[in-house]
Amino acid sequence: MLEAVKQILKSYITEELLYNFGTVEFDDNLLADDMIDSIGMMRLVGFVEEKFELKIPHEDLVIENFQSISVIAEYLAGRNLSLPEHVD
């Protein structure tokens, strides 16, 4: 399941936040050098909340939980994420 979540995040970031102008690997630092700026981060949070049907509390929005795709996936796994049926 972790792999599926990572793939979903990777596709969203590549297509929607990087406009297919760059690539991102699972362990790339998303926040370094403003690869994703604060608006991008808000969009990513909105996407995650909608896609995985959960609410990310404000206090969880820190680098420890959002530094890379792998880290986000781990964080979501820690929230007992179960993929909604329509997500494959």
Binding site: L31, D34, S38, M41, M42, G46, K55, E59, L61, I63
Partner: protein, 381 residues
């Protein structure tokens, strides 16, 4: 789609308008001229329950939802002609109390929220710096950890209520290597060593609320003064934005409604060429435009409040609303002044003050240019 307010909300609106009209509008021309902050009026608003509107009951508030808070702040903006006061109340409520509510420890909430609600202490929000305005996360204030304390060094600029604040939320970098994700927030009491405030800055509008710099020179605070987790500065600053935008703008909307009514009345009473000036199409068109602005701005604003009420993201709508409503307030202020002619230009008419007060709205909380950037960004550009 239901645009009606509940009976309770309608009653609240009437009560606030009556209270504000009766209590908050005295000596305003003089106070504006002298740049005088009225602590009395601040206390009256606290006693009436304005400051505690959205604070949970156990911390001394009224626990209002966002739609009801919008009703309340719109009513306040309508009844209270002192835009400086409504702005300052909103500043404390959404950029100080709300972050404490959202991120504070139980101890911090108990220490600050009841006193803030009762008007016993005043709170300010310090993020802007001389070299970090629109680019707010490029701030340079540093918080260095020393054992169980932090040492703050830096200057916060344009701090609303700075000169009268007992406590300020200060944003500072705790880890330079992490860029904006290394920014944390702190609750700093004005009694902390190394904390000082510059002389009050004179400004164009909102003159009844004092503004100054907060200077942190080896300002020493306990590590337990940190608000939220380490590195949560970005999250803290963005978490309250939607509420802040809704409610500050709601007060502006209330002021626009009052301005419109005043303009209509003046256009009906003032006669030139043997007829009321409202009969001249140029004057009537200006008033019609004011009406279009307030109605369209209202729809945008209520949509943001409705989205938040239903736990939906409203970043885009909040930016649309901030951009549109604040620009409308400036434009309608100018139109109101034109309708009043030379009389409107006189300070005693209290028409020109609304225009001066409106200008700040296109700058604070992210300038109109920045709102456009956010909108474009959220549209995927």
């Amino acid at each position: 789609m239901d645009f009606s307010w509940t009976e309770e909300q309608t009653r609240l609106r009437t009560e606030i308008i009556e209270f504000a009209t009766r209590e908050l509008n005295t000596d305003l021309v003089e106070r504006d001229k002298d740049g005088e902050f009225s602590r009395d009026n601040w206390r009256k608003c606290a006693d009436f329950g304005i400051l505690g509107s959205s604070v949970p009951k156990q911390y001394g508030g009224r626990d209002m939802d966002i739609l009801t808070a919008v009703v309340a702040m719109e009513a306040l903006g309508y009844g209270c002609r002192d835009n400086g006061l409504t702005f300052a109340l909103n500043a404390q409520m959404w950029t100080v109390q709300l972050p404490i509510q959202n991120f504070g420890t139980e101890k911090q909430k108990k220490k600050y929220l009841p006193k803030l609600c009762r008007g016993e202490i005043i709170g300010a929000h310090g993020i802007t710096e001389p070299d970090a305005g629109s680019d707010l996360f490029s701030l340079k204030t540093i918080a260095g950890k020393q054992g169980n304390e932090y040492l703050l060094n830096g200057t916060k600029k344009f701090v609303t209520l700075g000169p009268v604040a007992d406590v300020a939320i200060i944003f500072a970098t705790t880890d330079v290597s992490l860029g904006k994700w290394g920014i944390s927030a702190f609750l700093v009491d004005n009694t902390a060593s190394g904390y000082s405030v510059s002389p009050i800055r004179q400004k164009m509008g909102l003159r009844t609320v004092p503004m100054a710099e907060i200077i942190l020179d080896n300002c020493r605070i306990g590590a337990d003064c940190m608000l939220g987790p380490v590195g949560a500065g970005v999250s803290i600053s963005s978490s309250s934005l939607e509420w802040e935008r809704c409610c500050i703008l709601a007060s502006q909307l209330g002021a626009m409604e009052r301005q419109l009514e005043d303009a209509i009345q003046y256009a009906r009473e003032r006669r030139q060429f043997n007829q009321p000036i409202g009969k001249f199409q140029s004057v009537a068109n200006r008033i019609a435009d004011m009406k279009v602005r307030s109605e369209t701005a209202r729809l945008l604003l209520y949509k943001v409040a409705w989205l938040k009420m239903n736990n939906k993201p409203a970043m885009l709508e909040a930016a649309l609303s901030k951009l549109y409503l604040s620009e409308c307030f400036v434009q309608s202020g100018l139109d109101a002044l034109r309708v009043h002619g030379g009389n409107g230009y006189l300070t005693e008419s209290e028409v020109e003050r609304d225009l001066r007060d409106a200008i700040g709205g296109v700058i604070y909380g992210g300038t109109s240019d920045i709102q456009r950037n956010i909108i474009a960004g959220l549209l995927g550009l």
